[in-house]
């Protein structure tokens, strides 16, 4: 059976090393925080200038001066620190974050990421920090459904949407399979309710089916 969004978040959380510095971007990836063990020592970074971000703020905790990258109110954990935007993006761009987790429109066989623009001619372009995160973190994990609503795959030989970053994705977590992207191509790590044959058929690209090592 394919995975729910919650199950995907749980699987991603499992793959984050203890003590890692992690950026969860905005939207779906922020659900990963719910599945991190409290004793994992994972420290969350938010691009608007904070390490040690805690869970979403509720009720009296809400402070307009303390938000995440999605501009939602959050809390502060012991050991947190604040810094300005240039320092925050220096931290990202300089390769200091261990993992960042992002959504995607498309990921290519070589790890290219497209997640900021569908290239629609009437769209208003808006990129935020996505391009900085894509090229900055030591590992970029993507979370997405493997197929679009029209059934077309989002893991593709080459992105047709405008790129966010080149050759930057290392893992792709989807509802039906997890993939590792490496120098030798895309390897299937695990499948959920779909056979490798069906995956290979529906994805118009070569896949390495051996277990990820």
């Amino acid at each position: 059976m394919s995975l729910s969004r919650e199950q995907m978040a749980e699987i991603v959380a499992r793959d984050i090393p203890d003590g890692a510095y992690v950026n969860l971007g905005i939207g779906q990836p922020t659900m990963v925080a719910d599945y991190l063990r409290p004793d994992s020592g994972v420290v969350l970074h938010t691009e608007n200038g904070m390490l040690g971000m805690g869970r979403p703020a509720t009720g009296d905790e809400i402070d307009p001066d303390l938000t995440n990258a999605g501009k939602q109110p959050v809390t502060e954990l012991p050991g947190a620190s604040y810094f300005h935007h240039a320092d925050s993006f220096a931290m990202m761009r300089g390769g200091h974050l261990d993992v960042c987790i992002m959504g995607a429109f498309q990921v290519s066989a070589t790890g290219d990421l497209a997640n900021w623009s569908t290239g629609a001619p009437d769209a208003i372009p808006a990129v935020g920090g996505a391009m900085d995160l894509a090229i900055g973190a030591k590992q970029v994990f993507v979370m997405m459904s493997l197929f679009a609503k029209d059934g077309s795959p989002k893991l593709v030989p080459e992105c047709t949407y405008p790129l966010t970053g080149r050759a930057c994705v290392s893992r792709v977590y989807t509802d039906v399979a997890t993939f590792a992207v490496g120098a030798d191509g895309v390897r299937i790590v695990e499948t959920f309710g779909i056979s490798v044959d069906e995956l290979t058929t529906r994805l118009c690209m070569p896949l390495v089916s051996s277990p990820f090592t």
Binding site: T46, E47, N48, G49, M50, D63, P64, D65, L66, T67, K71, E76, Y82, F83, H84, H85, A86, S88, F89, A90, M92, R93, D112, S117, D122, A123, I124, P125, A126, V127, G128, G129, A130, M131, D132, I135, G136, P162, L163, T164, G165, R166
Partner: protein, 218 residues
């Protein structure tokens, strides 16, 4: 020179038609709302606004845009659920937009403040936002050449200032404030309170007074 303490209206009179104005804030956190309102009342137009977003709802930057004072917006993320004012102007062809990846936006302002002529950034390589820009391979990695973004005026919000202009911020409202303060010819900071010189611990000052020209207590 040591910062001058002013009313908002007097402070923003430094903005002239055609100026580039750096506006702090990430969403509402750190947004200098009272300074923007004063700028709207002041009336300067043909402005280039550099800010992370392009206004939300009908207040603040959105109201400045709605008043027709802005020729161009330089930002990382104009499109939001409540950015209808910008969206309308943009679709009507009434406003220019330069989208800059957020880190390049911050770093380009940092470069302006730090006297750096240009820098090679890995952000945006291979994307449409690097089209037409110089690139260069350094140690096997490709970079895009990015140039400084200078402001004529910066409008920022901090938490507490001393009378010299030293600033501290509060939580993630710090965001672009310290960078923009370095990048503008005139920096105007609105703060929640102004204390006497010597009341801020020198170890914790985030923006030294040298970067602050005008203080507005709101």
């Amino acid at each position: 020179m040591t910062a001058l303490i002013m009313e908002a209206a007097e402070a923003v009179a430094a903005v002239k038609d055609g100026d580039t104005v750096l506006v702090g804030g990430f969403g509402m956190a750190g947004m200098p709302v009272e300074l923007i309102d004063a700028l709207i009342a002041h009336g300067a137009g043909d402005l280039t606004i550099v800010s992370n977003n392009a206004g939300n709802s009908d207040t603040g930057l959105a109201a400045l845009l709605a008043a027709g004072r802005v020729r161009k917006v330089v930002c990382s993320f104009p499109r939001q659920a409540d950015s209808w004012v910008f969206d309308g102007l943009y679709r009507a062809g009434k406003i220019e937009l330069e989208v800059v990846p957020q880190g390049n936006l911050a770093e380009r302002m940092r470069a302006a403040g730090a006297g750096i002529g240009a820098f090679y950034s890995p952000t945006g390589v291979g994307t449409p936002l690097a089209e037409g820009k110089e690139s260069r391979v350094i140690d096997g990695r490709e970079y895009v050449l990015e140039f400084p973004i200078r402001g004529d005026v910066a409008l920022i919000r901090a938490h507490v200032a001393d009378r010299m202009g030293n600033l501290v911020y509060r939580k993630t409202a710090r965001n672009f404030g310290p960078v923009m303060a370095t990048a503008a010819a005139v920096t105007i900071a609105q703060v929640s309170s102004i204390v006497d010189v010597g009341e801020l611990d020198p170890e914790v000052i985030v923006t030294p007074a040298i970067y602050v020209n005008r203080l507005v207590s709101v």
